[in-house]
């Protein structure tokens, strides 16, 4: 499996898009530092960008790589390699390449700004951890969508739909629901509903760590009030890890049953 991961990784780091992606974070983070010298402000601004962009790019890469390597996958399937190694290896190759790309793009400007000497290092680490987890989660979802749908247009369409739902529409619907049922105690419901959106969970995780209550929003505040900072963070992190594992086990399940 390690060999497959390596090849999948090597194939991706040759792609221009990945450099573009790293470069984008370099420019974005660099620009944020130009605007503000306050590390915690930069972290919050960067968070807002990461929560939108990481899931979108990871989804699209996951879908794209799975479709582009279809023929190659068939070549591998005829070799004495276990099926699960082929698919999990490819996925891990993409996810790791994306995570490293993000890590470098967002990390280098912070290192240059002297993050290691400041008290913000842990806040920054949580931000990076969230970005990495989101890279793994959403590239798995993208890869899975492409594995299930042989029709490429539908695969890409669904990926964008998933992104729109989780990154954009979800918040609106959620707020609408809260306003609608505002006469009822909704705290537990709110926590329950948040569990279904990894982007929201990542946001809560970062904001709990930063302790910026003004930005937490309703769910963040509920997490903070009912679970406290450490328990809330622990819960958010645990569910994020579940989110990362679940699609991967689905990839495994489907890859063992698919015809090529």
């Amino acid at each position: 499996m390690l060999r497959i991961i390596r090849y999948s990784f090597a194939d991706l780091i040759r792609s221009r898009w990945l450099y573009f992606y790293t470069g984008f974070y370099l420019v974005l983070t660099g620009a944020l530092f130009l605007i503000s010298a306050d590390l915690s402000k930069v972290i919050v601004s960067l968070m807002n960008a990461i929560l939108f962009i990481v899931p979108l790019v990871a989804l699209l890469f996951g879908v794209m790589v799975q479709y582009n390597t279809r023929e190659f996958t068939e070549l591998l399937l005829a070799q004495p390699i276990p099926r699960r190694s082929i698919f999990l290896g490819q996925y891990l190759g993409i996810a790791t390449a994306l995570a490293i790309s993000f890590l470098l793009g967002a990390g280098i400007p912070f290192i240059l700004s002297g993050i290691f000497l400041s008290g913000e290092i842990w806040n920054f680490s949580i931000l990076l951890l969230s970005g990495i987890l989101l890279s793994y989660i959403f590239s798995a979802l993208g890869y899975l969508l492409a594995l299930i749908n042989d029709n490429r247009i539908r695969g890409f369409g669904l990926a964008i739909l998933v992104w729109l739902l989780l990154a954009v529409v979800y918040d609106g619907l959620f707020l609408l629901g809260l306003a609608w049922f505002s006469d009822y105690p909704l705290e537990n419901v709110a926590i329950g509903v948040t569990v279904f959106n990894p982007i929201d969970l990542a946001r809560i995780l970062i904001l709990l760590k930063l302790d910026v209550s003004a930005l937490m929003g309703y769910t963040g505040a509920v997490f903070n009030k009912f679970l406290g900072t450490s328990l809330g963070m622990g819960l958010a992190l645990t569910i994020l890890v579940v989110w990362a594992v679940l699609p991967v086990s689905m990839i495994r399940y489907i890859s063992l049953r698919k015809d090529f």
Partner: protein, 262 residues
């Protein structure tokens, strides 16, 4: 060596294989024939575990095949459509496949035989169809395996490469290997095949020597014999339907016309 027991496979509502029983034990060249969509590729892919049958069992060397695929080290497979990662170079692809199989490889020899030295550093996306097929052949034939499965090996090959391919196939037979080949080129079948398996709508209609096929329809030319088989009254599957499969669409008279490509 390879035993297929009652293989059924459907893609959605389309039944591609309907109760196929086959055994490949003796060395030699078997041509798997049939019109487009008759289930040839599906049959070969199911031996490799790429297509998973809905029913039935496949045994390789006495053991049922599994998802771990270690048995595939004894099989060389040439897929029908040669498509590779576009931005990889020929040399890298060959090296990569070699790294997945820790078996001695004769790639250098084959590269020379097919005259591929000049394209070794070209990206696969820039190669012509025929050149890709040659690369495909090198990747397939570079291992010394007891079983060789070739799905349309002649597609896009120039005459020189075709001659080379025939030599390699004959050499493999002399080495005592089991070869399964699908092709639409009947002259190749006449020239090479020791055994013909004729597949139609997912069932086997003939399994025997090419001469027996010709005798059966009383036609000295194999191409015409196959056409006769399709259009004449000779169409009865050699294996009875089992209770689980639906009755086959009636095929008497001239219902199935050889609009089918040969």
């Amino acid at each position: 060596m390879i035993h297929l027991h009652h293989i059924h496979k459907s893609f959605g509502r389309l039944e591609v294989l309907r109760g196929v029983d086959l055994a490949f034990d003796r060395p030699g060249i078997t041509a798997v024939l049939g019109p487009n969509g008759s289930g040839k590729s599906t049959l070969l892919k199911s031996i490799l575990g790429m297509v998973l049958p809905d029913q039935g069992e496949i045994h390789f060397n006495g053991k049922p095949i599994d998802n771990l695929g270690q048995y595939r080290k004894d099989i060389s497979y040439l897929p029908q459509i040669a498509r590779f990662p576009e931005n990889l170079r020929v040399r890298e692809l060959i090296r990569m496949i070699e790294s997945f199989r820790s078996q001695p490889s004769q790639s250098a020899e084959l590269i020379h035989q097919f005259g591929l030295e000049s394209v070794l550093d070209s990206q696969l996306g820039h190669l012509s169809g025929g050149t890709r097929q040659k690369v495909n052949l090198v990747l397939t034939l570079m291992y010394d395996t007891p079983v060789i499965i070739l799905d349309e090996p002649t597609a896009g090959l120039d005459p020189v490469a075709m001659v080379k391919l025939k030599e390699l196939i004959i050499q493999a037979r002399e080495d005592g290997k089991i070869l399964l080949i699908t092709t639409h080129i009947m002259s190749l079948v006449e020239e090479l095949a020791d055994r013909v398996v004729f597949l139609l709508e997912g069932r086997i209609y003939f399994d025997g020597k090419p001469d027996e096929l010709k005798q059966r329809v009383d036609e000295p030319n194999l191409e015409k014999a196959i056409a006769n088989l399709l259009s004449g009254g000779h169409l009865t599957p050699i294996q009875p339907l089992d209770a689980s499969s639906k009755p086959i669409k009636k095929m008497n008279g001239n219902v199935v016309q050889p609009q089918l490509k040969y």
